[in-house]
C-alpha cells in the first residue's frame, strides 16, 4: 500500500468501482483523485464509455423533465433532496408527500378538534415517524387518559399474509416480555386492515440521536447503557426471541431517568419475511448486522450479541465499527474486516472494555460470550469497578480479555490464519447465496451460466438487499409514493428529527383542551 505514493494505479481504480477497497486504500485514492486528472479521466472511462455515460445521462434527464410518457405524474426518487438547485427546488415543490397518506384510509374521522383521525379507541394526534416498515403515530386514549405510540405496519407488508402472521406471533411474544429494559407492548391488533401495535408514549431520545449529538460517550455511560441493553436482551432471549435488529436507533434513553429501553422487537422479523428475496438477504441498513445475518444465514441469540457489540463500539468511538459507502461495502466489512481498534479512536476507553467489545464482535458466533445474561453480569461488575476501583476488582473474565487483546496485536500469524478462514467462509457463503438465489430450484448449479463477468458473484450478494427494498417500496407507492422509498431505511432517523420532548410538552399543555 505504501508503494502507491504518487503513482497512478489503474487496478486500484477498477477495484474502487467494484467497491472492494480497504478503508486506507479508499482514503488514499480519494486524495489522489483530488489532483490527478489522468486518474479522474481513467476512472470515468472504466465506469463506462462515452456513449454509455451519455445514454444514462439522457435517460435520467428525460425522466425528471417529466416529458417521458411513463414518467409523467410519477414522483421520482432519483432527485436528491439535499442539494439546492433551481431546477430541483421548483420540481420538488408540490411534490411533498404527506406521511399520513397511507394512513388516511386507515383512520376513522377523529372526535377531537386536534385529532388527525381515530383508530379504535385512540385519537391520533401526530405522526412521529414513518418509513418503509410502517408509520409511528402519537395517540391519546381518552378512557385511560394516557398517551400512546402506535406503530402501524406498512401496507406492502400487510398485504403479505405470512408477514401478518409473523407480526401477530412476534408481537404477542414481545408482549410477554415484561422487563424494565424492554419497551412494553400494550396491545396488538393483527387482524385489522393494517396491523398495528400500541406502546406507551415515553419521553425519550434514541441512542442514535445521542450519538449524533455527542459523538463518543464517557466510559461509565457506555457501561451503564450497555448493561441495561444487555439485560433487556437477556429477557428477550429467555423468551426464545432473537431481536435481530439491535442498533442505536432501537435503543431508547428515557429523559431525566437513567433508564434504557430496547424497542422494535419482532418487527424486524416480520419485516425480513416480506422483503426476503429469493437471494436470501434482508433489506435495511447492515451496519449493525452480525456476519451470519449479512450472509443470510440463520441467526441466534449470539447474533444479537454481535450487534450489541457494534452498539458498544459505536458508543465508545462515536461511529459504527463497519462503514462503507454502499450496503455491499458494509456487508463485506462486517464479514471480512476487523474494525479499527477502539483505542485508535478513543484512547479514554480502557483496554479491558476494548477487549470485551472485541469479543462481542468475534466473527464466529461461538467465540462471543455465551449469553446476554453473562454480558449483563460482567458489565455490572465493570460499572462497580469503574466507580470504586479499589474495593471492586475487575471480573477475571474481563481482565483476561485485556490481555488477549495485547497478545493478538502482536500475533500477526494468527491474524493471517483468521483472514484465510474468513476468505474460505466467504467463498462458501457466495456459493450458498448462489444456491439460494434459485430458491425454488434446489438443484441449481452454482456455476455461472450467464457469462464471464468478473462481478457476477459480487452482484448476487449485493443485489439482494437493494432489490428487496425496491420491490417493497414499489409495491407500496401505488403510483404516488415513490418519494417514500428514500425513507425506507430511514424510519428511525426521521423519528430523531422530531423533537419528542418538545412535542410532549406541547401535548401536555394542550391536554385539558383536548378533553
Amino acid at each position: 500500500m505504501k508503494s502507491f505514493s504518487s503513482n497512478c494505479d489503474p487496478q486500484l481504480l477498477q477495484r474502487s468501482l467494484e467497491d472492494v477497497l480497504s478503508e486506507q486504500q479508499e482514503e488514499w485514492l480519494e486524495s489522489h483523485l483530488e489532483d490527478c486528472a489522468t486518474c479522474q479521466q481513467q476512472l470515468t472511462e472504466l465506469a463506462g464509455d462515452a456513449d454509455g455515460w451519455s445514454r444514462v445521462e439522457a435517460v435520467l434527464r428525460e425522466e425528471i423533465s417529466g416529458t417521458h410518457p411513463l414518467g409523467r405524474g410519477i414522483i421520482s426518487t432519483l432527485i436528491p433532496g439535499n442539494l439546492e438547485s433551481p431546477v430541483q427546488s421548483s420540481r420538488r415543490f408540490g411534490r411533498e408527500i404527506l406521511p399520513a397518506d397511507f394512513a388516511v384510509d386507515f383512520l376513522e374521522p377523529g372526535r377531537e378538534p386536534d385529532s388527525l383521525g381515530r383508530l379504535n379507541d385512540i385519537e391520533i394526534r401526530a405522526i412521529i415517524g414513518h418509513g418503509g416498515n410502517g408509520i409511528v403515530l402519537k395517540g391519546y386514549q381518552k378512557e385511560l387518559n394516557r398517551l400512546v405510540a402506535v406503530k402501524v405496519m406498512a401496507p406492502q407488508l400487510a398485504a403479505n399474509a405470512e408477514a401478518r402472521k409473523r407480526f401477530a406471533r412476534e408481537a404477542q411474544a414481545t408482549a410477554a416480555i415484561v422487563h424494565p429494559n424492554v419497551m412494553p407492548i400494550l396491545t396488538v391488533h393483527s387482524r385489522s386492515q393494517l396491523p398495528y401495535l400500541v406502546m406507551p408514549y415515553v419521553d425519550c431520545e434514541s441512542l442514535q440521536q445521542r450519538l449524533d449529538r455527542e459523538g463518543s460517550l464517557p466510559t461509565l455511560d457506555v457501561l451503564r447503557i450497555g448493561h441495561q441493553v444487555a439485560r433487556g436482551l437477556a429477557a428477550a432471549h429467555a423468551q426464545g426471541l432473537v431481536h435481530r435488529d439491535v442498533k442505536p436507533a432501537n435503543i431508547l434513553l428515557e429523559r431525566g431517568v437513567d433508564r434504557v429501553m430496547l424497542t422494535d422487537f419482532g418487527l424486524a422479523r416480520a419485516v425480513d419475511d416480506a422483503t426476503l428475496t429469493s437471494t436470501g438477504l434482508i433489506a435495511g441498513t447492515p451496519q449493525y448486522m452480525s456476519p451470519e445475518q449479512a450472509r443470510g444465514d440463520s441467526v441466534c441469540t449470539q447474533s444479537d450479541l454481535f450487534s450489541f457489540g457494534s452498539v458498544m463500539y459505536a458508543m465508545s468511538t462515536g461511529r459504527p465499527p463497519f462503514r462503507a459507502q454502499t450496503s455491499y461495502g458494509i456487508i463485506r466489512r462486517v464479514i471480512d474486516d476487523d474494525p479499527r481498534p477502539i483505542g485508535d479512536l478513543n484512547s479514554e476507553i480502557p483496554i479491558w472494555l476494548e477487549g470485551l467489545i472485541e469479543r462481542l464482535l468475534a466473527k464466529h458466533r461461538d467465540a462471543r460470550f455465551t449469553s446476554a445474561d453473562e454480558v449483563a453480569f460482567l458489565l455490572q461488575e465493570c460499572i462497580a469497578h469503574v466507580q470504586q476501583p479499589h474495593s471492586n476488582p475487575l471480573p477475571q473474565t474481563v481482565k483476561s480479555l485485556a490481555k488477549t487483546r495485547r497478545r493478538t496485536q502482536r500475533a500477526k500469524g494468527t491474524q493471517l490464519r483468521i483472514q484465510l478462514i474468513m476468505l474460505a467462509s466467504l467463498a462458501v457463503t457466495l456459493v450458498v447465496i448462489l444456491i439460494a438465489s434459485g430458491a425454488f430450484d434446489r438443484e441449481t448449479n452454482p456455476d455461472n451460466p450467464v457469462g464471464e463477468n468478473p462481478y457476477q458473484q459480487n452482484e448476487l450478494t449485493t443485489s439482494a438487499p437493494i432489490k428487496s427494498r425496491g420491490e417493497s417500496a414499489a409495491a407500496w407507492n401505488d403510483g404516488i409514493g415513490e418519494d417514500l422509498q428514500q425513507l425506507d431505511v430511514e424510519m428511525d432517523r426521521l423519528l430523531e428529527k422530531l423533537d419528542l420532548s418538545e412535542l410532549n410538552e406541547h401535548e401536555t399543555s394542550n391536554q385539558p383542551k383536548g378533553q
Binding site: S31, E34, L43, V59, R61, P80, S327, D441, P449, G470
Partner: protein, 202 residues
C-alpha cells in the same frame, strides 16, 4: 402467491439443464424490473402481482419457440429478446387501458409475440430499464454520493462547486459518481444482456 406454480410449469418445459438455470436466473433478475414497469404503467396496486405473473407466464409459454442457434448462451439471448418484445407489446397495450383492470385478458393480448419492435419502442423500453436500474442503485449509496452524482452528471454542475456545497472532496465525488455509473450500467446489463444489440429473433 402463485409464483412457484408458474415456475413449476415452466420447469417442465425446460427439462432441466442449462436452460432451466438460465430461466431461473432470468426471472430473478427480470421480475423486479417487471414489477417496477407494471406499476409505472398505472396498473392498480392489487393487480400488480397478477399482471407481473401474466407477463412472466407469457414469456414462459413462448419457450416452445426456442431453437438453439448453436452459439453461446443461445437460450439466454433468445429469452431476453422474447421478453423484451413481449414487454414492449405489453407497454403498448397497457398504456391504452390505464385504469382498466389488469388480469387474465392480457394473456390473450400478449400471446402472439410481436414482430420486431421499432426503434422508438426499443428506446422506450431501454428508458424504463435505465430508470429502474438507477432507482435500484440509488439505495446502495449514501445520500451525499448520490447528490454529488446527480449534481455533476445530470445537472452538469462543476465538481469543484458541488464539493464545496456538500462539504466533501472532489476526489470522493470522482470516486462515487463513477461507482454509481458503473453500477447502473451493470444493473441494466444484467437484464438487458446483449439482446438490444443483437438482432436475432426466434
Amino acid at each position: 402467491m402463485d409464483q412457484p406454480e408458474t415456475r413449476h410449469s415452466l420447469i417442465a418445459h425446460l427439462k432441466g439443464g442449462d436452460n432451466e438455470r438460465a430461466w431461473v436466473e432470468f426471472v430473478t433478475l427480470y421480475e423486479p424490473f417487471l414489477q417496477h414497469l407494471v406499476i409505472r404503467l398505472g396498473v392498480p396496486q392489487r393487480d400488480v402481482a397478477d399482471v407481473v405473473q401474466q407477463v412472466l407466464l407469457t414469456i414462459a409459454k413462448s419457450v416452445d419457440g426456442w431453437k438453439d442457434d448453436g452459439q453461446s448462451a443461445s437460450f439466454r439471448r433468445w429469452l431476453t429478446t422474447v421478453a423484451r418484445n413481449i414487454v414492449i407489446k405489453f407497454m403498448h397495450k397497457e398504456r391504452r387501458q390505464v385504469g382498466g383492470r389488469g388480469g387474465s385478458h392480457f394473456v390473450e393480448l400478449l400471446e402472439q409475440v410481436p414482430a420486431t419492435p421499432d426503434r422508438e419502442q426499443i428506446a422506450r423500453y431501454e428508458h424504463e430499464l435505465i430508470v429502474w436500474a438507477a432507482e435500484q442503485v440509488r439505495h446502495e449509496f449514501i445520500d451525499t454520493s448520490w447528490t454529488a452524482f446527480w449534481a455533476t452528471v445530470i445537472d452538469g454542475q462543476l465538481v469543484k462547486d458541488v464539493a464545496n456545497q456538500l462539504g466533501i472532496t472532489c476526489g470522493s465525488i470522482y470516486m462515487s459518481r463513477s461507482r454509481i455509473m458503473a453500477r447502473i450500467r451493470r444493473k441494466v446489463d444484467e437484464v438487458l444482456d446483449d439482446a438490444l444489440t443483437t438482432e436475432d429473433h426466434p
